[in-house]
């Protein structure tokens, strides 16, 4: 009897652990508390959620150098930072691609790209891929909009920047801007997720 109880307890713990692992595999859903990070940026400094000052949240964008969709959005990422950083929502772009698999996404190449485009936002390197694995992004560009509440960062929106990568003037649904505007007005974000075609993450082998 005792053996049976030990066995069931053992099996139950396996079940618990595996469901936790599975949940982690999928990454965050809207409402989750986002993990903090401390990453090196292209200007040699570190960027972390805890280190942000006078902010209400953060616009975390999983990005890279080489993806044509990212390239199509770089100017819009600059605009978003310039528009929302003063209101408390800075953009933090994170490149998680493995430089062996995708040499164009090396730290040197990131520095070069940031200089060419004069990025006003932090462009950070997630070399260990720990941050992207925890967040659960699967493509670039992919946005996690975080709202700060009692020193915690809550995920409020996951998805695309808007619904037309080709032409900013033809966008009919600026998903991210709408979500940030809603948070700034103290309202609930209406569209909490969106999908877009994007470049796969170049995972370390």
């Amino acid at each position: 009897m005792k053996n049976f109880r030990t066995l069931s307890l053992f099996l139950f713990s396996i079940f618990l652990v595996s469901s936790l692992v599975l949940a982690q595999d999928k990454g965050y859903v809207v409402g989750d508390t986002a993990m903090g990070f401390d990453l090196q940026t292209v200007d040699g400094s570190q960027v972390s959620l805890d280190g942000l000052e006078n902010n209400k949240g953060a616009i975390v964008i999983f990005s890279c150098n080489t993806c044509p969709y990212v390239q199509a959005y770089e100017d819009r990422m600059i605009d978003l930072h310039q528009r929302y950083a003063p209101k408390g929502y800075p953009v933090i772009a994170i490149n998680s691609n493995d430089e062996q698999v995708s040499p164009g996404d090396s730290f040197d190449a990131m520095q070069q790209r940031a200089q060419e485009k004069d990025f006003p936002f932090a462009y950070a390197y997630d070399k260990s891929q720990e941050v992207i694995k925890t967040y659960g992004a699967t493509r670039t560009p992919q946005v996690y909009l975080l709202e700060k509440q009692d020193d915690q960062y809550l995920v409020r929106y996951i998805g695309a920047i808007d619904n037309n990568y080709q032409d900013a003037a033809s966008v009919s649904e600026p998903y991210l801007a709408n979500a940030v505007d809603a948070l700034l007005e103290g309202k609930e974000v209406t569209r909490k997720t969106s999908k877009a075609i994007g470049c796969s993450i170049k995972w370390s082998r």
Binding site: P68, S102, T138, R139, G159, A160, N163, N164, Y165, Q166, S172, E173, Y175, S194, K195, A196, I197, G198, C199, S200, I201
Partner: protein, 163 residues
């Protein structure tokens, strides 16, 4: 009248010749399609396993797996392959020159609808939007979806299972 009718019949006869259909076609099809056209294509009745591979000319993992798909299509008479390009429809020449350079034998359709969120879930709710991704439609109409790059043995095994 009779002459033009017999000419029409002759053309119809030509079209039904083996050389005009299926895998004997020397040149692959390339055209730009809407999402509605894509949906009609996937919903079409067929006795074959149909495979829709989402890719783009600039996508390295997509380009790596393409030959596996193209070869499988050549050696399997009971499957039909379509490469669905996510390239920019304003520059179709990038795709057509790629087809020529890489000698792609299967039809390539460029899906021109950048309002991605409006249709990704209709292809498959499990698709996060990353490419490469592949939709398999079995003869009975049921679907299997795979996101991510595939190695050749993995693909061939899956084709065998789904056929």
């Amino acid at each position: 009248m009779i002459a033009s009718l017999s000419r029409l019949l002759f053309v119809l006869f030509l079209i039904t010749l083996p050389g005009f259909s299926g895998k004997d076609r020397p040149e692959p099809d390339f055209k730009i399609i809407s999402f509605e056209e894509f949906e009609r294509l996937t919903a079409k009745e067929s006795e074959k396993l149909r495979i829709f591979n989402f890719w783009a000319t600039w996508c390295a993992p997509c380009v790596r797996e393409m030959p596996y798909f193209d070869h499988a299509n050549k050696s399997n008479t009971d499957m039909e392959l379509y490469f669905i390009s996510m390239d920019d429809a304003r520059r179709p020449e990038r795709v057509s020159s790629f087809i020529e350079k890489r000698d792609i034998q299967s039809p390539v359709y460029l899906l021109n609808d950048v309002d991605f969120n409006s249709w990704i879930d209709k292809v498959n709710p499990d698709w996060t939007g990353a490419i490469p991704a592949t939709l398999f439609v079995k003869a009975d109409g049921s679907r299997h979806f795979h996101e991510g790059e595939m190695e050749e043995p993995e693909l061939l095994k899956l084709i065998d299972q789904l056929k």
